[in-house]
């Protein structure tokens, strides 16, 4: 079983040596996940074309930006998620007539940009907690966070789909985040 650190190694091999072997290894691991993300978030409604586009764009971005990857700032999985999310939003915006002047990279700080105030010890502690805690979440909490993060559902849409009041969805998410110790930096979030 490979550990997430191996993916960081691959990214560094791409950055340092433009290693195609490392790229192929990353591709075989992440491409199915990115496509799964594209599918669960509804990009495949009109066939596989947009999903394949998302896979290709994310992977070429990984190649192009590999030298910006900093394992002290984020794990490879986190980094891949942020890149795939940004490209997904841009891809969807490109399907509409009216686009804004700014694109996703202006709207989301990427983990490699300075000053996100966290270091590796903190990052990996956060990630370890999440990995340990996520399997122990009650199924109904696991279900809503999956919907919100990967299925392109707003809290309201998740509530409609599960036939629950919005407040219930919100409180399930908050309970889950509290257990995973995620997103609670601002005091007074309860």
């Amino acid at each position: 079983m490979t550990t997430p650190d191996e993916w960081a190694d691959c990214l560094e091999l791409i950055a340092g040596n433009q290693s195609r072997d490392a790229f192929a290894k990353l591709f075989r691991h992440f491409a199915p996940q990115i496509k799964g993300y594209a599918r669960s978030s509804g990009l495949t409604m009109m066939g596989d074309q947009l999903a394949d586009e998302l896979v290709q764009e994310t992977m070429t971005n990984l190649w192009r930006k590999a030298h910006l990857f900093d394992r002290e700032k984020a794990s490879a999985t986190t980094w891949v998620f942020t890149i795939a999310r940004n490209l997904r939003v841009d891809l969807l915006r490109r399907q509409t007539k009216h686009q804004g002047h700014l694109d996703s990279d202006d709207m989301w700080n990427e983990p490699h940009t300075e000053g996100d105030g966290s270091d590796w010890v903190e990052q990996s502690t956060v990630e370890r907690h999440i990995r340990m805690g996520i399997g122990r979440l009650p199924i109904e909490q696991r279900q809503v966070i999956g919907k919100v993060f990967l299925e392109d559902k707003s809290h309201q849409e998740a509530a409609d789909e599960l036939d629950l009041p919005l407040g219930t969805v919100k409180s399930r998410i908050r309970l889950a985040l509290k257990k995973l110790r995620v997103g609670l930096e601002v005091e007074g979030y309860e």
Binding site: T77, E114, V148, K170, L177, L180, V182, G183
Partner: protein, 217 residues
């Protein structure tokens, strides 16, 4: 350090890529001032990465790898750190998400005078509807009393203002709906600049200012 933040569910939707254009921009600008929300967002991204990791992968054709490798051969020069970093930007008072829209600083923008102490500048119209505007208020300037028919998003970029609900400083994020009637007043010592998006036109409640309605929509 900011005192007024987006709610946790808004931050969650921001990280998940759920918010519409102007809301995303508002949160992004707040985050560029607020270390706590920046950390929270990073943690939420870590969670999303773990969820992505747990997702049953979809079948991907080997051909797509071959095609992608071919694309890589045609890649333009790689981005350098200097280009992607914003460290050399000459107008540090403009937060990073707005640097493309305000490349030469606040003073170089075309401001429209609405009142002796109030100027506005339209940055762009969000693809999702509302205009995204800057308001600039002279020190001590007062905005006429108004409510909001829809939701009003504000992030303070510079200076401070107060209303009956509190005192706000650079970076603070406010989301106001129709239930809030207020009369914002800029702090005395400094001009105040804020970024605003209103999902529906403002409705002035003070009869003296009814004539302003067409300008504030």
């Amino acid at each position: 350090m900011s005192k007024f933040h987006p709610e946790l569910d808004v931050l969650t939707e921001y990280v998940a890529g759920q918010l519409n254009y102007h809301e995303t921009l508002m949160v992004a600008v707040h985050i560029s001032y607020c270390e706590a929300c920046r950390k929270s967002a990073r943690e939420l991204e870590t969670l999303a990465g773990v969820l992505l990791d747990d997702l049953p992968g979809d079948h991907v054709d080997e051909q797509l790898l071959a095609k992608t490798l071919a694309m890589i051969d045609n890649q333009p020069e790689r981005q350098s750190r200097a280009v992607s970093g914003a460290a050399s930007f000459a107008h540090p008072e403009v937060p990073p998400p707005l640097r493309k829209a305000i490349p030469n600083g606040f003073n170089a923008l075309k401001w429209k005078k609405l009142l002796p102490h109030l100027q506005v500048c339209d940055l762009e119209v969000s693809p999702d509807g509302p205009a995204i505007t800057l308001h600039r208020i002279k020190p001590g300037g007062r905005i006429p009393k108004h409510t909001h028919r829809g939701t009003e998003y504000t992030v303070l970029l510079k200076g401070g203002f107060s209303d009956m609900y509190g005192d706000y400083n650079a970076g603070d994020y406010l989301c106001r709906d129709a239930a809030h009637e207020h009369t914002p007043v800029a702090a005395d010592n400094e001009e105040c600049i804020c970024l605003t998006a209103v999902e529906e036109p403002l409705r002035m409640t003070s009869w003296k200012w009814r004539w302003l309605n067409p300008f504030l929509s």
